[in-house]
């Protein structure tokens, strides 16, 4: 298939450059965990343009530690959709994809990234990697973006059950992925670097687990936005910078708890956010905090589900982490995790944006509702497209959320 990408310098490079410069200045004024986190993500973005690195577009859950250890800078495509929506400029891109025949029934995160690739605003990758977890759409999107650039895509099949067989199968796929990367970039895996990445990953997760434990305090030390979209952390997990970011969050939350500073002063209700946030600018979180003193104390996606990884067998450790992800395997496992978190965090209610076009989650929403109901936690499914705001009706959602909050 011939490359069909408009040429020209990417707007994304400017975006990351400005982001990093802006954050550096802010950090000089005052260092916060959130600022440092965004800075490090921005630096990963800049690396996509660094000639010293090879580059890859991926889906959200791939072993970035392996890519980093091979000198491959990588960003997941859902991040692009979220970033453009957050900047209020996603529309021309998803509309470009729609104009080319991509259905509005699909996920707008993916449609936006495909449109951005068509518009030539994403850097040309050396290769692409897609995993079937969390969804078919992501794997298909990277494959289509690969077609646009005339680059190969490696697909990882993530098994459903956690067994020795399935772990072995994942490890074998990782080995083939490593060969795939070497064949296309000439870069080889540095096992020592990978082991170091696993150790950094463990250290970062220890701090993050402590930080999240602190969020169980009532009132919580975090507000609804402190850990918003923290899933992007997967890009810096396994790096020294990732450890520093986690430690900053831990220290910040610990200090607030020790000093009795609430993330949301006057916190009355504690909320669990299911899956992704709404990415474009909206007033819902502000309304929840201001009018109801309702605090999103935990995002489901931020929870660290895996055990400490064994750096002596890094591929197996990464395979286990991926197969045991709550988004993989039976949805009942994910629902049970939500219920467990709801109890541990003293959650009063859960918000599920139920992103339009998200099949893997939309197909399980009743399981989520029932599992949470068993522990006395009601759920509201917002039925909103988290990226495409054309059908967004804030007034309607406010009314529904108000009714939900009154019920709590």
């Amino acid at each position: 298939m011939k490359p069909a990408v408009t040429t020209g310098m990417t707007m994304m490079e400017t975006y990351f450059h400005d982001l990093v410069e802006g954050l550096r200045k802010k950090l000089e004024e005052k260092e916060t965990a959130r600022r440092r986190f965004i800075l490090e993500v921005g630096r990963i973005g800049e690396r996509m343009f660094d000639p010293g690195w090879s580059s890859a577009w991926t889906t959200v859950f791939v072993p970035f530690e392996i890519l980093n250890s091979m000198g491959v800078a990588a960003i997941f495509v859902e991040f692009v959709g979220a970033m453009l929506a957050g900047a209020g400029i996603a529309r021309p891109y998803f509309e470009k994809a729609e104009g080319a025949g991509y259905s509005t029934d699909g996920c707008a995160y993916h449609r936006t990234s495909i449109g951005a690739a068509m518009a030539g605003m994403m850097p040309e990758p050396d290769l692409l990697i897609g995993a079937t977890c969390p969804c078919d759409g992501g794997a298909k999107a990277v494959r289509r973006i690969g077609d646009l650039y005339g680059k190969d895509t490696f697909i990882i099949t993530v098994p459903y059950e956690v067994t020795e067989e399935s772990i072995g199968y994942m490890v074998a796929q990782f080995r083939r992925m490593i060969d795939f990367i070497t064949e296309r970039t000439g870069r080889k895996l540095d096992v020592d670097k990978l082991r170091e990445a696993v150790r950094f990953g463990n250290e970062g997760c220890r701090y993050m687990t402590e930080a999240l434990e602190l969020c169980k305090n009532v009132p919580a030390p975090n507000n609804s936005n402190d850990l918003k979209n923290f899933i992007i952390y997967v890009l810096i997990s396994g790096t020294k910078e990732g450890v520093e970011v986690s430690k900053l969050f831990r220290d910040e939350f610990r200090e607030r708890v020790e000093k009795g500073i609430a993330g949301l002063p006057g916190e009355k209700h504690r909320l669990l956010w299911i899956q992704n946030r709404i990415q474009f600018r909206n007033g819902l979180i502000e309304m929840l905090e201001r009018d109801f003193k309702a605090n999103v104390v935990l995002d489901e996606l931020n929870y660290i589900h895996w055990e400490e990884m064994d750096d002596r067998d890094p591929l197996r450790a990464l395979a286990v982490r991926q197969i045991t992800h709550p988004f993989t395997g039976p949805a009942g496992r994910r629902a049970a995790m939500m219920a467990k978190l709801a109890v541990e965090y003293g959650i009063d209610g859960a918000i599920n944006p139920s992103h339009w076009g998200c099949r893997q989650s939309g197909g399980a929403r009743n399981l989520f509702r029932d599992a949470l109901a068993e522990v006395g936690v009601p759920v509201i499914h917002l039925d909103v497209d988290c990226v495409d705001e054309r059908n967004y009706s804030e007034g309607q959602l406010r009314t529904r959320l108000e009714a939900f909050m009154e019920m709590l």
Binding site: M1, A100, G101, Y102, S103, D105, G106, C107, H110, T132, C135, D136, G137, A139, K140, A141, R143, R144, D147, T153, I155, T157, P159, Y160, E161, E165, S166, Y169, A172, Q173, R176, P330, A331, G332, S354, W356, G357, R359, Q360, G362, G363, A364, R365, N366, L367, D370, D383
Partner: protein, 355 residues
């Protein structure tokens, strides 16, 4: 069907299956009748309370029927981890539809030796799960026999299919679909007898008179009822080849005998003409173009169920490539209801006119 056949079928325990990657030979070898589950073809009543309405209409229809006891005749259902919707259907079945057996097989996206080996082990796991649940031993001999019986059915289907190359086709798309459909509820040995009889009858009969139908290839994921093919042909087409998972693609499998039936089945299923979920769009494009040429189709009607990401993400590239090969295309979406198809009559008729 004669009385003896009807009795035999009635007496067999029935195992439900949905995806065309289900190794039905293993179910048959367990002494069960593999029955494909289709839902009800009507409006969804209950399933939308369990799954988001923007999920695969086939999956929701199956769930809708099951919630109303529509799977009561089944001992259990074998699911395949073929796509998000199927995976979630299995999860929801496990919680809200009370069947004795609810097994999911992982299905790799790739076709490397490692993928084949893993899928082979998955098939072995299915065998053991059936044996444990039903107390039935699946012997190598029984499995070999089942493989042979389904192979014979597939060969007969291919012979019948060749009659569609004639102009006008000696057997219509609707007849093929109706006959093919019967294998979803019939043991292969009985189905083959019927197919043989149809084949002999068609060969002996005079060729049909010209019908003026525009020759088209029907591609896509699934057609939920033979009435859909009948409806399409009623709009002025001869459907001369069917590349859907409920039609021709189900009957094509590169089966080989290496003495390891599970390995052979795994390889054959993974290498059969690909569903869009297998991520080999180039192969799908080539196949559609080659088959259209081989069967003399001037156009391609590509039918996708709504909300099917695996097919929808392929659609733009597929359309472009097929049209570049000189074939006209019509891309339509269905929702597993006949009413939904009725609304496409004007588009189908307009497409017939441009061919």
């Amino acid at each position: 069907m004669n009385e003896e056949e009807a009795e035999k079928m009635e007496s067999l325990p029935k195992a439900g299956w949905l995806c065309s990657y289900t190794p039905i030979e293993i179910l048959h070898a367990a002494g069960m009748l593999p029955v494909r589950v289709f839902g009800h073809g009507g409006a969804i009543r209950k399933a939308d309370s369990y799954m988001h309405p923007n999920l695969c209409p086939y999956v929701r229809s199956v769930l809708d029927a099951a919630l109303d006891g529509g799977c009561g005749h089944l001992e259990g259902v074998v699911f395949v981890n073929s796509c998000d919707a199927m995976r979630r259907l299995r999860d929801v079945f496990g919680s809200y539809v009370n069947l004795g057996f609810n097994h999911l097989i992982d299905l790799p996206r790739g076709r490397s030796d490692g993928d084949v080996a893993y899928f082979g082990r998955e098939l072995g796991n299915l065998k053991r799960a059936i044996e444990k649940c039903f107390g039935a031993e699946i012997t190598g001999e029984a499995l070999g026999d089942s493989i042979e019986k389904y192979e014979k059915s597939r060969d007969l289907y291919a012979e019948l299919n060749d009659l569609r190359k004639e102009s006008p086709p000696r057997i219509s798309g609707t007849e093929m679909m109706r006959l093919g459909w019967q294998i979803y509820t019939t043991p292969p040995e009985i189905w083959s007898e019927r197919a043989e009889s149809v084949l002999n009858g068609k060969k002996a009969a005079f060729p049909p008179p010209p019908d003026g139908g525009r020759r088209v290839l029907l591609a896509g994921n699934m057609i939920h009822s033979p009435e859909i093919t009948e409806f399409i042909e009623g709009c002025g087409f001869d459907v001369v080849y069917d590349d859907t998972c409920t039609g021709g693609r189900f009957f094509e499998m590169p089966m080989e005998d290496s003495g390891d039936p599970f390995g052979d089945l795994a390889r054959a299923y993974l290498f059969r003409p690909a569903c869009a979920r297998m991520m080999v769009i180039e192969e799908r494009i080539s196949r559609i173009i080659e088959k259209a040429k081989e069967f003399g189709a001037a156009g391609v009607i590509h039918h996708t169920l709504k909300f099917c990401d695996t097919y929808q993400y392929d659609a733009p590239n597929l359309k472009k490539s097929i049209e570049e090969a000189g074939l006209k295309t019509l891309f339509i979406e269905g929702d597993c209801t006949l009413g939904g198809f009725g609304q496409m009559k004007t588009r189908l008729e307009a497409f017939a006119e441009i061919l």
